[in-house]
């Protein structure tokens, strides 16, 4: 039981692995965090509204309601994960174990807690801030929502401590957090807050660590035989296994609805289908397009399926084994993301024609087989001569570079462009209040005095 566990080095080792495992729940990174990132944007749409897909359809069309199972699971699974880290952190300081283990395990727990709170605050806005194991239910009832700023302050504190204590690399233990992961996440947090100076420092720390580099071939990012490549900073680990329960089931959802390319019958697909709009967003010659998506497939009767039923993502494509899942890791942080964030930060500070920010943007473009954009380019489509143009170029580049990796919605909200970009593309538009999701109704029902719904829901 909880009372007599948490004694030895091995106990704490197991406990931190248990906390990493929480990354793999439906409400975390098995489904919803990334589905929100793409479905609640112009990147993807629902390929079918059959059965439980209807709640995601609701979300993708900005009709989400507070009884949605999406918000319920995101909330519950994140707080469950935070509980795991809190239980560990409450006990690690007093534990009779080596200082190294104490420091590292503690730092990992803080990194994870920071990540989970970052998701919560981006999705819901103000959220209750729970930083220790609540041993009584009464305590839970007494907690209301903490302001976004307070939550961010705690996230930053956690991530700073993690960044300073975590190892630079984790040879043979890939999947555990590194200082690079903490700095990268911290940079994104600062940037989201509009703290450009600190964002720059944090992201630059990652770049200067020289641990990471862009892979020459974009295709290599998605090969399961090529895991733990130099561009990966932090990933949710999956491994196909018939019995271990460690495989990813999310990949199955990324197939088209009723896809017969699988080695067995499945209608599990159709959750996250590239939109026409995204297909058209790739510049001609972009090598990333074919690496990222398909627009047709051939069914068992030899017919070519096109259109909505024909489109699907190619990034997480390894065939799941029924009941076990595939080996596709889920990338939470990747070096290309860091470079683009850094370029965004530099540009936000000041537009410098053909300055450092251009270098990072063009590193990404060149790898995709696209020409550099310059402040003074003769081709107007490649010319960036203002801060705003550069910001839009970053937005475009992030869209196609990081497509289906669960970034688009969060990016558009961060840059304040969500309504402007998405509203014209949605049948009912997007309203201001929809920039945060509704709190789950079940939780408000439980504690209506302390937990108030976001306005508009």
């Amino acid at each position: 039981s909880v009372q007599n566990f948490y004694n030895t080095e091995a106990d704490f080792q197991n406990a931190i692995y248990g906390a990493y495992r929480a990354l793999r729940n439906v409400g975390t990174y098995n489904d919803y965090v990334q589905l929100i990132g793409d479905l609640a944007s112009d990147n993807t749409e629902m390929g079918s509204t059959a059965s439980d897909r209807s709640v995601l359809n609701e979300m993708s069309l900005f009709r989400i309601q507070s009884h949605s199972t999406v918000v319920r699971d995101v909330w519950n699974h994140h707080y469950q994960a935070i509980w795991y880290t809190n239980v560990l952190l409450d006990r690690v300081d007093g534990a009779n174990i080596s200082v190294q283990t104490k420091t590292r395990v503690g730092a990992e727990a803080k990194f994870l807690r920071g990540l989970f709170y970052f998701n919560l605050v981006r999705i819901f806005g103000d959220v209750p801030l729970v930083t220790k194991d609540l041993t009584s239910v009464e305590e839970a009832y007494s907690k209301g929502r903490s302001p976004v700023a307070e939550v961010y302050a705690h996230i930053i504190q956690d991530l700073r401590e993690a960044a300073q204590s975590l190892p630079l690399t984790v040879p043979n233990e890939q999947g555990r957090a590194t200082s690079g992961a903490a700095w990268a996440l911290l940079g994104k947090v600062y940037l989201t807050q509009g703290n450009i100076a600190d964002a720059k420092t944090a992201l630059k720390t990652v770049i200067d660590s020289r641990v990471y580099e862009l892979l020459p071939d974009y295709n290599d990012l998605w090969e399961v035989t090529n895991k733990h490549h130099n561009e990966a900073i932090f990933e949710v680990q999956y491994q196909a296994s018939v019995s271990g329960g460690t495989g990813s089931s999310y990949t199955e959802r990324y197939t088209p609805y009723m896809y017969t390319g699988l080695p067995y019958s499945s209608t599990a697909g159709g959750y996250n289908i590239p939109t026409e709009d995204l297909v058209n967003a790739y510049e001609p010659g972009d090598l990333r397009k074919d690496a990222s998506l398909h627009t047709s497939w051939v069914n068992t009767s030899g017919e070519v399926v096109t259109g909505l039923p024909g489109r699907f993502t190619n990034k997480f494509r390894h065939m799941p084994i029924r009941g076990g899942g595939s080996s596709d890791n889920w990338p939470i942080l990747r070096y290309a993301d860091v470079l683009l964030l850094y370029a965004e930060a530099l540009n936000a500070e000041a537009f410098v024609a053909n300055g450092e920010a251009f270098n990072y943007l063009n590193m990404i473009r060149n790898r995709a087989g696209l020409p550099s954009k310059m402040a003074d380019h003769s081709d107007p489509s490649l010319r960036l001569d203002s801060q705003n143009d550069f910001a839009l170029a970053i937005e475009q580049e992030r869209r196609v570079e990081l497509a289906f990796e669960g970034h688009r919605w969060y990016d558009l909200v961060r840059t304040g462009r969500a309504i402007e970009v998405l509203s014209p593309k949605m049948p009912n538009g997007v309203q201001q209040h929809q920039l945060v999701f509704p709190l789950p109704l079940t939780q408000i029902d439980l504690n209506p005095t302390k937990l108030k719904q976001n306005p508009g829901y």
């Binding site: 039981s1 009372q3 566990f5 197991n14 931190i16 692995y17 248990g18 495992r21 079918s48 509204t49 059959a50 059965s51 439980d52 209807s54 709640v55 359809n57 009709r63 319920r72 707080y79 469950q80 509980w83 795991y84 239980v87 209750p128 729970v130 239910v137 839970a140 009832y141 907690k143 984790v170 043979n172 890939q174 999947g175 895991k227 680990q237 491994q239 018939v242 019995s243 329960g245 609805y257 009723m258 017969t260 067995y264 019958s265 499945s266 209608t267 069914n299 068992t300 009767s301 017919e303 259109g307 909505l308 029924r322 009941g323 049948p427 009912n428 109704l441 079940t442 029902d445 439980l446």
Partner: protein
């Protein structure tokens, strides 16, 4: 051993004291009724080794009393004329004029020995012999014979001119001298001061029921027995006096021949072995079971051996069952119209035109050409396809007999039943032996052995579309065939992009194989040692071993539509699993029982003891996938995908005591106490004490009481405490979960907390007060029992939803308080007692359930029976448990003007449901959810009428529930109006256009779900009231001369109809009795259950 003579020097002793002396010296029980004479009358007597009859003559004749001696019983009554001397029974006192003789049998045609046959109004008396025969001499041609024996209804029969008069005597129900089985002992009905309902084996036999549920349903006030599913062999749900607990379970404790077992094992029980069933209802009777008594206790006693001639009986029966109702579903044509409507409406909603061709529509809104080609359709009535007329047969063989020193009762039975859903099946083989061996006058050894083997073939019944056969069948459109020629199944998948995957209902029948085998053996043995007269030590040791094995294999099979090329073929891979469960439960019980008297009027019966019980469980589960083919279903042929084993254990140590006291058969009192220590509770709260007291007053035994029509009248009251410990074995501990993660490409084990710890977790307590009146009128022709009770359960063990910021969505706590109070009435009348006999049993129960406290803050509890539908239930202080909760659908919007004129959702268009603005704030929001009804009925009732005429017996039983609501959650799928699947027939009444508004209740079809159509609402609420004819039985017993000719002692033929008719208020599902969820927070949900069947059975009772 006893003598047949009396030695007594008594001066001014009461008659009662004299009778006690007789009893002690001769072993004869003296039986009399104080209404006929005063047993406090003082007599003086001097006798030395005086023969018993002489002694009785001497004592009784001066008092004008008569006596009968039969076997070891002396019956004492008042002589009609004081002048008449007391007479020994067999001697005629009047002149011999003519003789009448005959045989007295019981209802099973067994001869009754020791029946007193008296010529009415005289002292002419005789007693039947061991063959049931009697002969009596009577004067003249007139006269009436009175046949009486303890435990049977007295019969009066005019003699007329006949010289042979055979009679059948029925066991008396409600007779005051009837022995009632209670916890750890027996009491007579007269003495009992607590609320106990009983059914005898004879009564159960009348309905010819083969299951426990059918036998008990509707028979006892305050005991609600529900047949919640039609799965062959399934256990009933039984609620004694309402629902007290919220999560710790509300099923009563079962005690079979002294062994407490769990309800699931009832299916292993052979009904015809039952001698009696007692249901302990109030705290006075249940608190002797301490921490397990709060939900009532059901004590089942099996048939014991009887001395005398060996009795052999054989009871075969054969029956047929059919599904009790057929649902109204849409025809293929209606479906097509509906599906087009759903796609067009949704496309129109997005700005399209309903006449757009497929090429102009996104795939979701396209329409399959198959819908327009009826010539390709294969028409199927899916209900006919999956249901069958299913046979059932039963064979019971029993032997009873023995001598005084060795009694035995042995039975063997087979019961085989096919389910009304094809491929489901239940078979039971059982053997029972009850042996009694009197080692000496003071030591008796009893042994009960019950062994059964149950073979169950299960079909995946529950669950929605694709999960279970019922949900899939209802949703399947009738234009697909049963199976394609190549063995694959037509699948609905082929009909367009927005259509749900479906597995053919037939696949569940043909390709799934789930077999469950249970072996169970309950054995207990006890030694009863009489240490000194009337002081008995009983030591019982028993064990219960149960082994359950479940083998599952699903063949690999293909789904596709043969006539719809262009659509894909899917292969469902083979999977298999194996479950293995064993449990071993031992019980040791040691009790001392002493009966004694203080003075002449104070009788005591004292019980003290301690018991220990321990149960261990082992569970193993293995599943496998990737089978290369369907040929080898054993798991080694596939790839093991999951395997785990679990162990658990609980133990209980208890001390118990009881004192029964009676004063001169007029005042009675009982007090009990039990102390339980259980491993299931937190270290801070491991021991519980459960006391009770009760008292009764037999008013009709008072000398002053002389109200002619009232033959007996008793008042009683009880108060006590019992507990409920039905929680998981380790609920108090903060548990950890074991899980896998990948680090460095290697699997590592992770540990995470999974429950919150609670060292104070303890019993749920039930305090109950009960007052009752019991009356017998007109010589007990009418018997009435009325109970009023108030039961308050506190410290409820509650799996409480908590703010999930603690890391969990719920935790187990002791909070809350629920009250049940109610009235129970039971009435038994013998309307006709002549050649045509007619008796009626009626019972009705009213229970009101109310939550008094909840949690520390008193916040209401939201709960859900199906999380995708949101919160479906709501429990708050001041209301009953588990109210249905959701939005009120108040019709359908007919026009845009109407929408604009009232609060609405932004997505609303004409044809959408009107959601009631319950709080009147002008907007539709979550605050408009409200209570929509409750599953708990206003009242429940049952009535049995039994008729006997010559050799015919007939009975019928009616049972019902009034004022109950049900959430038909099937409708979440079957009335979702998306047109992806077939729907219930009421979808015809949908809104189509302002010109065709339907019935104003069913909203329009749309393949996209928006608004609140699929959240919990009044749309799913149905009236659950019903009246059901449970049982109609007709029997015919062959005349004795015919059966004698056949060399058998008795032969009865019978025919029975079970559940032939059910009347409901347009209930849309299969069975309004249903409750998918047994949780008291989410009761009354019908979610694709196995439907109930009606059956017709023909059988024989043969006694050799």
């Amino acid at each position: 051993s006893y003598s047949q003579t009396i030695t007594l020097e008594a001066k001014e002793q009461t008659l009662k004291q004299v009778f006690n002396t007789i009893q002690k010296q001769t072993g004869h029980h003296v039986i009399y009724n104080t209404r006929f004479f005063d047993d406090q009358t003082k007599v003086s007597v001097s006798a030395k080794q005086m023969p018993l009859d002489t002694f009785l003559d001497n004592v009784l004749s001066p008092l004008a009393l008569t006596y009968d001696i039969r076997e070891n019983t002396i019956l004492i009554g008042r002589a009609t004329s004081p002048a008449q001397p007391a007479t020994r029974g067999v001697q005629p006192v009047k002149a011999l004029q003519r003789s009448v003789n005959g045989i007295v049998n019981d209802a099973d045609a067994n001869p009754l020995e020791g029946v007193t046959v008296r010529l009415k109004g005289s002292n002419t008396v005789t007693i039947t012999g061991s063959d049931g025969r009697y002969s009596i001499n009577i004067p003249g041609s007139e006269g009436t014979l009175v046949f009486s024996i303890i435990g049977y209804n007295t019969i009066e029969h005019g003699v007329g001119n006949v010289s042979t008069l055979n009679v059948m005597m029925e066991q008396s129900v409600g007779g005051l001298d009837e022995v009632v089985v209670v916890g750890y002992g027996t009491q007579t009905k007269e003495n009992i001061t607590s609320s106990v309902s009983t059914i005898s084996g004879a009564e159960l036999g009348k309905t010819n029921s083969s299951t426990f549920t059918e036998g008990m349903i509707g028979k006892m006030p305050g005991v609600q027995v529900s047949q919640i599913t039609g799965v062959p062999g399934s256990a009933p749900s039984i609620r004694v006096r309402g629902t007290g607990s919220i999560t710790a379970g509300n099923e009563p404790l079962y005690v079979i021949d002294g062994f407490p077992i769990d309800a699931a094992s009832l299916s292993s029980f052979n009904m015809s072995d039952i001698e009696s069933i007692s249901v302990l209802k109030d705290a006075s009777s249940t608190s002797i079971y301490g921490s397990r008594g709060a939900n009532g206790v059901i004590i089942v006693t099996t048939k014991k051996g009887v001395s005398g001639q060996t009795r052999i009986a054989y009871n075969p029966s054969y029956g047929l069952q059919q599904v009790s109702v057929k649902l109204d579903l849409m025809s293929p044509e209606e479906y097509v119209e509906f599906a087009l409507d759903a796609r067009n409406n949704a496309w129109e909603y997005l700005g399209g035109n309903r006449n757009d061709p497929n090429s102009a529509r996104p795939a979701l809104y396209q329409i399959s050409p198959y819908l327009f080609t009826p010539e390709q359709w294969i028409r199927t009535d899916w209900q006919d396809a999956i249901f069958q007329t299913a046979p059932a047969q039963e064979h019971q063989l029993s032997v009873q007999g023995g001598s005084e020193k060795n009694l035995f009762s042995i039975s063997a039975g087979y019961f085989g039943q096919e389910g009304v859903i094809k491929s489901s099946k239940f078979e039971r083989y059982s053997v029972r032996a009850n042996l009694m061996n009197a080692v000496s006058d003071r030591v008796k050894i009893e042994t009960n052995v019950n062994t059964s083997f149950v073979n169950n073939k299960l079909v995946e019944d529950q669950g929605q579309f694709n999960q279970g056969i019922i949900g899939t069948m209802i949703n399947s459109v009738g234009f697909l065939g049963l199976q394609n020629e190549d063995g694959s199944y037509p699948s609905f998948q082929g009909f367009g992009y927005g259509v749900s995957e479906t597995r053919s209902p037939m696949a569940f029948i043909n390709e799934y194989d789930r077999k469950n085998n249970t072996f169970r053996s309950v054995i207990n043995s006890s030694v009863n040692y009489e240490i000194i007269p009337n002081l008995y030590l009983k030591a019982l040791l028993g064990f219960d071993y149960n082994k359950t094995e479940q083998n599952f294999f699903m063949n690999s099979f293909d789904s596709f539509v043969a006539d719809n090329p262009g659509h894909s073929r899917f292969t469902n891979p083979a999977t298999g699993s194996f479950d293995y469960n064993t449990s071993f439960n031992w019980l040791s019980e040691n009790t001392l029982n002493y009966t004694f008297e203080l003075g002449s009027n104070h009788k005591f019966d004292v019980l003290a003891g301690f018991t220990a019980q321990n149960a261990k469980y082992n569970y193993a589960y293995i599943s496998a996938t990737n089978f290369p083919n369907n040929l080898v279903p054993t798991l080694n042929a596939g790839q093991v995908s999951s395997a785990n084993t679990t162990r658990a254990e609980w133990s209980l140590l208890s001390y118990l005591g009881r004192v029964n006291y009676s004063y001169s058969n007029r005042y009675f009192a009982t007090s009990t106490i039990r102390t339980d220590g259980s491993s299931r509770f937190g270290s801070g709260n491991r021991w519980g004490v459960f006391p009770s007291v009760s008292a009764g007053w037999m008013i009709s035994n008072e000398r002053f009481f002389n109200v002619r029509p009232i033959s007996s009248l008793k008042l009683r009251a009880s108060y006590g405490l019992s507990g409920n410990n039905n929680i998981s074995n380790y609920g108090f501990a903060g548990l950890l979960n074991y899980t896998n993660y990948i680090i460095g490409n290697k699997q590592v084990s992770g540990i995470a907390p999974s429950t919150m710890s609670n060292s104070l977790l303890g019993w749920e307590k039930s305090r109950q007060f009960d007052v009752a009146i019991e009356a017998g009128l007109f010589n007990n022709r009418i018997n009435l029992i009325a109970d009023v009770y108030n039961k308050v359960n506190t410290d409820l063990l509650l799996q409480v939803a908590v703010p999930s910021i603690v890391g969990l969505t719920s935790t187990l706590q002791n909070i809350g308080k629920v009250r049940n109070r109610g009235v129970e009435l039971g009435l038994n009348t013998r309307n006709l007692v002549g050649a045509l006999k007619w008796s009626t049993d009626v019972n009705i129960s009213f229970n009101r359930n109310k939550v008094l406290e909840l949690g520390p803050s008193g916040d209401p509890i939201f709960s859900t029976a199906y999380s995708n539908a949101g919160d479906t239930h709501y429990t708050e202080i001041g209301k009953p448990l588990g109210n249905f909760y959701g939005y009120v659908f108040d019709g359908v919007f007919q026009s845009q003007e109407q929408i604009n004129s009232m609060p609405h959702l932004p997505t609303d268009r004409p044809g959408d449901p009107i959601v009631k603005d319950v709080n009147g704030d002008g907007v539709i929001s979550a605050d408009d959810r409200t209570i929509l009804g409750n599953y708990q009925p206003d009242f429940t009732y049952g009535m049995t009428n039994s008729f006997d005429y010559r050799n015919f017996d007939f009975s019928f039983m009616v049972q019902g529930v009034q004022g109950s609501e049900i959430m038909l959650l099937n409708m979440y799928q079957t009335m979702s109006m998306t047109g992806r699947t077939n729907n219930l027939g009421i979808a015809r009444n949908r809104w189509r256009s302002p010109e065709e508004p339907g019935d104003g209740k069913v909203y329009k079809a749309s393949i996209d779900v928006y608004g609140l159509r699929r959240t919990s609402s009044s749309f799913y609420i149905q009236d659950g009231s019903y009246l059901r004819i449970r049982n109609i039985s007709l029997g015919y017993t062959l005349p004795q001369r015919v059966s004698e000719h056949l060399r058998i002692s008795r032969l009865r033929l019978y025919a029975t109809a079970q559940n032939p008719f059910t009347f409901t208020n347009k209930y849309l599902g299969y069975n309004p009795e249903v409750s998918t969820s047994h949780n008291s927070l989410t009761p009354g949900v019908d979610y694709f259950n196995y439907p109930l069947s009606k059956s017709w059975t023909f059988g024989l009772n043969i006694h050799f």
